[in-house]
Amino acid sequence: MSDRPIATTRSAAGMPTGKLAVWWVVVSEIVIFGGLLASYIMHRLAHSDWGEQAAHTNTWIGAFNTLVLLSSSLSAVLAHKAASEGNGPKAAKLLWLTILGAVTFVTVKGFEWAHEIELGYTITSSTFWSFYYTAAGLHAAHVIAGAIIMGIVAVAAAKNRELHRVELIGIYWHFVDLVWIFLFPLLYIAK
């Protein structure tokens, strides 16, 4: 950290560089998920029989996970608020709460998948299940990566350091949440 370039102290666009970068990360992620979901939707429209496959997904578990992610987004917002007030330890606590949400989400997902695989719905069962595991898996990987980064941010924030990062991870977390908002109806509700 000792030789931070002068470049990072400038802000010609009127937005802190880190925030700008996170927005660009989000843009590039949107097109990745966009490509995947567009492919899924095109296939889905061409295959009306996928509804039968989708009927075997568990809407209630999906809904529970949606609720978990949404509330974790709320705690991320509160963490940002605490950070902008300069209250690092409080922000850290709220971040840990968010991570708890992520862990819950992944754990529930793990049980859900284990149950589905037990019933014989694996990634090779049909193209619907291939999309189901690929899209949700890619999303889960983002949840896990986000939680790890959030842990790093929280450790620093607890010592009142790098507080601006609380907002950055928050933006990313909202994005991860938003992806799920698209995945949930597409994979669970549309039957």
Partner: protein, 571 residues
């Protein structure tokens, strides 16, 4: 909210350029953008040598089918497919992208906008390391059982997704894995380019004061970022099809092979502009410098490029006219494709108009920049034949396509590389290259280049289709006249490759023994020429960070003694 949390500025640059660096931290783990640029450059050159060798091997096979080729041996059909596939992949993803976008982007962005480094130096380093890893993965794929992937660089499934069809079970997975890693590397690099240019310009540098080349690299990065996502998703699906037994692209189990074509070309066409725009920007900076002219209609150039960028997302299916898509769709894509010819034509007009009234000195970089325009014009006009759906019915997948493609990509990757290197060599290494040998190399490259590909236009028009290791099974294509043209093209390639030695010697010699370069050898305006050659760590001493007063193209301003006016010179 934005200003509420300062990014700890008190820690900035207290030790800049003073501490001793070990070899590893200077060359292997450097975060200095100039060093990373050189790493990209040399990796790119190394990959270009591999890609060039592949071209040599398969061109020899085409001219003398079955011959025991010196340094290679007999080319089997599988090896031929692998050679052409990896020649294409390497030249686009491991030569054009790292050299044109990453090496020059890293080198010129901080220097030209007047700051000391990229905003995320460590991410920059990580980007190079991922890139290097991807190159190693790709190279390793040539040595696994079954050999390197041979499904062409477009990798259409089911050929690419099913090992029993492509016969390269490991090679194809390593190939798609390497391509995916490479995309991640350039996403990270692209974020750096964009944010650095947006936020860290020198005080006083307005949007209209940014050199065109920086604009172009940033727009190219945005295009890349916005187009690569679907293909990354597609690559994951392809990898799963290859290794987990999913059926995304397998029509017998509910998938669709054409899906990949859409995902690939949705990226593939903007990708052309991703690598095309940076050299186009270099041309703007080089011809203005050596013609001592202001760029003709700076803002028109920008608007045109924005237009091209947006349009480039709407043309992808012109690669798929005869691939079984709904024929009505072809009409839409013919319209958009012909539309995109308009901004490109306008850009060419702007550059030609810039020459009017200039004071043109034909230095080596200027020769390269001018040849870019002359050669790219051929690539551009031949594209019309392919974009017009009715004519594409005949030309699709012939050597006409191949020749057209090389008339766009040779200017992009090879001419772009040489003009950038010869122009910024003093800034990179603090030495000068020989202008005489530079010109020898120029003529020795540009003439054989045309002699390679003009025969291929004729061959394509005569119906010669692509990716064939030996034409003897097609009597119409084995007439003596056609074989003579193939031999002629191969001979020209050998001559062109031989002349690249001139460049390599000139390059290395210039680096070691060239005369010391002054600050501003070309008498150019942009900011990189206001610091030492090569620039110190941090580019300028902290007290002398430049401030910008005008645009970069104020040459031959009436009433001034000197015919150039550096951007940082107070009025």
């Amino acid at each position: 909210m934005a200003e509420s949390i300062p990014a700890t500025p008190e820690l900035a640059h207290d030790e800049h350029g003073h501490h001793e660096q070990s070899f590893a931290s200077k060359y292997l783990f450097s975060t200095d953008h100039k060093m990373i640029a050189k790493q990209y450059l040399f990796t790119g050159i190394a990959m270009a040598l591999i890609g060039g060798f592949f071209a040599y091997a398969f061109r020899m096979q085409l001219a003398f089918p079955g011959m025991d080729i010196p340094f290679f041996g007999v080319v089997s059909p599988g090896e031929y497919n692998s050679l052409i596939t990896n020649h294409g992949t390497i030249m686009i993803f491991w030569v054009a992208m790292p050299i044109i976008l990453a090496a020059f982007g890293n080198l010129v962005i901080p220097l030209m906008i007047g700051c000391d480094d990229m905003v995320f130096p460590k991410i920059n380093r990580l980007s190079y390391q991922i890139f290097l890893l991807s190159a190693l993965v790709l190279i390793s794929s040539f040595f696994v059982e079954g050999g390197g992937f041979g499904g062409s660089w477009v990798a259409y499934p089911p050929l690419s997704s099913e090992p029993q069809y492509n016969l390269t079970p490991l090679g194809s997975s390593l190939w798609i894995g390497a391509v995916g890693l490479e995309f991640v590397a350039f996403l990270l690099g692209g974020i750096n380019f964009i944010t650095t240019t947006m936020n860290s310009r020198a005080p006083g540098m307005k949007m209209n004061d940014i050199p065109i080349v920086v604009w172009m690299i940033v727009i190219a990065s945005v295009l890349f970022m916005a187009s690569v996502g679907p293909l990354l998703a597609g690559a994951i699906m392809l990898l799963f099809d290859q290794n987990l037994g999913t059926a995304f692209y397998d029509p017998t189990r509910g998938g669709d092979p054409v899906l990949w074509q859409h995902l690939f070309w949705f990226f593939g066409h903007p990708e052309v502009y991703v690598v095309f725009l940076p050299p186009l920007g270099m041309v703007a900076d080089i011809i203005t410098t050596f013609a001592r002219k202001k760029l003709f209609a700076y803002r028109t150039v920008l608007y045109t490029v924005f237009g091209t960028g947006v349009l480039s997302f709407t043309v992808w299916a012109h690669h798929q006219f005869i691939s079984g898509i709904d024929p009505r769709m072809a009409n839409i894509f013919t319209v958009t494709t012909l539309l995109i010819s308009i901004p490109i034509a306008e850009l060419m007009f702007v550059y030609i108009a810039t020459l009017y009234g200039g004071r043109i000195s034909l230095t080596t970089p200027m020769l390269w920049a001018l040849s870019f325009i002359a050669e790219f014009l051929i690539g551009g006009v031949t594209g019309i034949f392919l974009g017009a759906s009715g004519a594409d019915v005949y030309f699709h997948d012939t050597y006409f396509v191949l020749a057209h493609f090389h008339y766009t990509f040779f200017p992009i990757a090879i001419i772009g590389f040489y003009m950038g290197v010869t122009y910024w060599f003093p800034k990179m290494f603090g030495k000068m290259m020989s202008d005489f040998w530079g010109k020898v190399h120029f003529w020795g490259t540009i003439i054989p280049f045309n002699m390679i590909f003009i025969p291929l236009f004729v061959l394509g028009t005569a119906g010669q289709h692509r990716r064939i290791y030996d034409y003897s099974h097609f009597p119409e294509l084995m007439t003596p006249g056609m074989q003579d043209m193939r031999v002629f093209a191969t001979m020209s390639l050998l001559v062109m490759l031989a002349f690249q030695l001139v460049f390599l010697i000139n390059f290395v010699n210039g680096m070691i023994r060239g005369p010391k370069a002054e600050k501003n050898p070309w008498k150019a305006n942009s900011l990189e020429w206001t610091t030492e050659s090569p620039p110190p760590h941090g580019n300028w001493p902290p007290s002398e960070m430049p401030t910008v007063y005008r645009g970069p193209y104020e040459y031959s301003v009436p009433g001034r003694e000197k015919d150039y006016w550096p951007q940082n010179e107070p009025t």
